[in-house]
């Protein structure tokens, strides 16, 4: 009986396991213990890794990669807005929401991949500077959670059944969470640039 529930609700249990892990990391002070040990890595990234050396030596290369990072985020934002605004019934009302959800996902994944790769280069170019920024760590956390949410939770759910069978409020919740997540990633990323 228990085994049956565990296997039927594996995804849900994984979600709560991750939540428990986050709570334990905070409550047991694991984050504070690990944080100082990360500084040598960030310093190495900027001073010694070839990404960091190229980024700090050639400002034009760094600026171009930053621009590609922006472009990939524009594409990512476009796919997220197109899909989520359709789920909220704001645009594309004459096209089935299932079509938009499946039709934009490949574009979203490629944009996310390019954004992450260019983001690694950008972070390497500033290394220990972002290590000390709280807004950087918030962006990383939201990026990780947002990516997992999109790839393992939202997309599988929305492609598993016709949307007419889903409670409209559930769809709205998923869409609003998605939009706010990627807005937060973009806005915190912009604030890193100002800091």
């Amino acid at each position: 009986m228990l085994g049956s529930i565990l296997s039927q609700y594996a995804r849900t249990l994984s979600v709560f396991a991750v939540l428990l892990l986050i709570v334990l990391i905070e409550a047991l002070g694991v984050r504070e213990a690990v944080y100082p040990g990360l500084l040598p890595f960030f310093t190495w990234m900027r001073e010694s890794s070839w990404l960091g050396v190229i980024g700090t030596t050639y400002g034009s290369v760094y600026a171009t990669v930053e621009a590609v990072h922006l472009l990939s985020m524009a594409v990512l934002g476009g796919t997220v807005l197109a899909t989520d605004l359709r789920l909220l019934g704001v645009i594309f009302k004459d096209i089935p929401s299932e079509t938009l959800v499946t039709g934009t996902h490949k574009c979203f994944r490629w944009a996310l991949l390019v954004a992450i790769l260019t983001g690694i280069f950008c972070a390497a170019g500033v290394g220990d500077k972002v290590y000390y920024m709280q807004v950087f760590w918030i962006k990383m956390l939201v990026l990780l959670l947002g990516s997992c949410y999109m790839l393992f939770i939202k997309q599988p759910f929305l492609t598993s059944r016709p949307h007419a069978e889903i409670n409209p409020w559930m769809i709205r919740l998923l869409a609003i969470t998605s939009m706010l997540t990627w807005f937060t990633v973009a806005a915190t990323g912009r604030w890193i640039g100002f800091s």
Partner: protein, 190 residues
Amino acid sequence: MINELLLQFGQWMEAQQYSQMLVAGYYSYSWLEATHVLTLMVSIGSLFIIDFRMLGLVMPNVPASTIAARLHKPMIIGFVIMFITGALLVYAKPVETIQSLWFRMKMILLFLAFINAWVFNNRMKGAEGNWDNDPVAPKPLRTGAIASLVLWCGVVILGRYIPYDWVDCTNTTNTTILWAAGCVDQLNAL
């Protein structure tokens, strides 16, 4: 002549109270720039989806004219916000921006991108009904889509270069660059 006029216009704007307030405020310039950059996701995001549809990369089973028509409004709203925030950014730092080589190149590419969009729009209206349900648009429209992608990527990349001072008026003695960037005082001094 044009460079002198532009410099005078920039200096006049710089002397305005609101221009100085925009730059002096702790939050104002940052919020303006953040809005300009974040609205990229709305304006260029929508535009790139339309272009990608023409190339068959996104939603190939949805009529292309439908995607273009549905995303037209968000795209225009995004571009209006971009234009307003962009104009205010120029207003906040007018001389620095007007004498930026990258800004000038960005404006040229922006103009070409709008021309391309206008030509593309006309072609799309003319071709409606024949190819709309095809996964990939006909060659003239694909060419227009690729040109659009290249031009807008150029606009964003050049926009990203503006804050950098590699070829600022005070950092170069190359007469071509000084002329192209409208560095009137530095050219006169040479």
